[in-house]
Amino acid sequence: MMNFRKNLDANIALAIAAIFLFLPLIAATEFSLRDGGTEKHSLISYRWILDQSGFSENLGITMRVMALAVILTLVLMVPTVTWLHLGGEKYKRLIDVLTMLPLIIPVVALATGAQLALPGFVHGTVYELSFLYVVVSMPYTYRALDIGMSARPLATLVAAARNLGASWINVMLRVIVPSILPSIFAALFMTITLSLGEFTLAQLLHWNTFPTWITNISQQNILGATALAVGSLFFAWVLLYIFTFLDRQPTQSAVNEE
């Protein structure tokens, strides 16, 4: 009886959470499919988005900014977190705190402050946003990688690979990266979703990106704006699905005792 009650409570909680999560989504999707003021449904609002000037241009900018942010995250974060797990343990606490800072520092301070620290060649280009997105997504990317590496006996895997004749490059590319691939994908997903939706920094630094463009055009057409929001959301879901699909490693433990 206890068990049933426990399950019942859990199911009710789950149902409430599902309603809370999905009802607005369903409503927004239905709304975005309305054909003007009529009762009919059509894709007219979605077609409207594509017709707006600047759609592909701004999407392109955001995609390029995102691509650079992803590369920077990979190149900076993966080796750093690996090092923290393989001998830099004494700095781990410090880095734990440092990676939280982007959540605490006000975005305005970050925008102006971080700009000063950026390498000269990105000054005055839209790619300064990529560097800022790496910083802003760091609390999430760092944790995703940290958890993934903590779940593996990384030091032993590295020792085993070295012992079997792997150079450091091979250790990194053939052992570390593949064995924590799911968390690398998780980290990249954080960077990607943040890059796709970040508005404040782009606006503060006067760059036109996809999110700022959405904000501008949504003031003209509320149905179109909703269609855009729903579209972005589905795009993120598709990405998430692709990442889960790419991670083909079996995770289910099926121990076969001798």
Partner: protein, 345 residues
């Protein structure tokens, strides 16, 4: 033939802690040498330095007359099996075993062939397409062994490979390690804290304490002629009976015995007696001990007795000879060895 692995004057400190202190050891081709000692005695540090995973503060390592002290780990051609599970989680069993060959740029057919051969040796042929987490702990360590042997290592290094396994699997696997090691004539350095394990499969065992090699000898020699008090008390159980040394003799349990090691000065000493060297006579008229407990161990039984000064001794006797001993019985404890080992500690 000849010397395979030669370690000379190896030292390693971590700050002010001396992990390894002037450690020297020579392992002949095809020999299995164990390093045995309590945790923190430096045995794993020694192994990791040999593997090239850690650097020595001083000392030299020679492999087949070639100095390898400064050769990086990935160029030493030594196979290693670790204490914790070390299989690459994203690779299948076959790919794991073939990893070392892949690093050596062997063609794919040769890699697969060799991996299959080794998986057959460790009895896991049917599991080759599985992933490590689908195997039990014992199977994973077998794969790790196959992986270490696949590169045809000059030296096989075993870092407590059995300590995470349960007793039954541990015993089977240790016999298997020995069988493969003899079959492939692989020079092997085996690190363990389990003396039974070390004694069971090694040609020689080195007992370590505080970063130093206390004694290295065959298991029989170590057991019967321990060179130091540490070795004597670490290897097997040992009774310690305080007594006096006079003219090369000690009196223990009312009888005089000559001593094995003559280098001690006259005066207060401790006699070291193995439990199996103490026999308890039930039907004697002379009594010097009272039975406290008897534990049945199968073929033999362990009996503890209290002697005159109140101290407790352990005796190991055939179960058939000790059936009538019950707690509270008065017995005569007799030392069956003619010569006893003493220490002045």
């Amino acid at each position: 033939m000849g010397n395979s692995l030669k370690i000379e004057g190896l030292s390693r400190n971590f700050g002010s802690v001396i992990a390894l202190d002037d450690f020297s050891l020579t392992i002949k081709k095809g020999e299995l040498v164990s390093l045995l000692g309590p945790s923190g005695c430096g045995k794993t540090t020694a192994l990791r330095i040999v593997a090239g995973l850690e650097r020595a503060s001083s000392g030299e390592i020679t492999l087949n007359d070639k100095k390898i002290t400064d050769v990086p780990a990935h160029k030493r051609n030594m196979g290693m099996v670790f204490q914790s599970y070390s299989l690459f989680p994203h690779l299948t069993i076959e790919e794991n075993v073939a990893f070392g060959l892949q690093m050596r740029r062997e063609p794919k057919e040769k890699r697969i062939g060799k991996a299959g051969e080794l998986l057959e040796l460790v009895g896991l042929t049917t599991q080759h397409k599985r992933f490590p987490h689908q195997l039990s702990g014992g199977q994973q360590q077998r794969v790790a062994l196959a992986r270490a042997l696949a590169i045809q290592p000059e030296v096989l290094l075993l870092d407590e490979p059995l300590s995470a396994l349960d007793a039954q699997v541990r015993q089977n696997l240790r016999e298997e390690i020995r069988r493969l090691q003899v079959e492939l004539n692989t020079t092997t350095l085996f690190v363990t804290h389990d003396q039974e394990e070390a004694m069971a499969i090694s040609d020689r065992v080195g007992v370590m304490s505080h970063g130093k090699l206390e004694q290295i000898d065959t298991p029989d020699e170590l057991y019967n002629r321990p060179a130091t008090l540490f070795v004597a008390s670490f290897i097997g159980a040992m009774n310690r009976i305080p007594t006096q040394l006079k003219d090369g003799e000690v009196e223990v349990l009312g009888e005089k015995h000559s001593v094995k090691n003559h280098n001690e000065k006259d005066g207060n000493v401790t006699a070291l007696i193995r439990p199996e060297s103490i026999e308890l006579l039930h039907d004697s008229t002379y009594h010097n001990a009272v039975v406290v407990t008897r534990s049945f161990l199968g073929a033999s039984s362990r009996i503890t007795v209290r002697i005159g000064d109140g101290s407790i001794l352990q005796s190991l006797m055939p179960s058939s000879d000790s059936m009538e001993l019950h707690p509270g019985d008065l017995v005569q404890a007799v030392i069956t060895d003619k010569k006893v080992l003493i220490t002045n500690a």
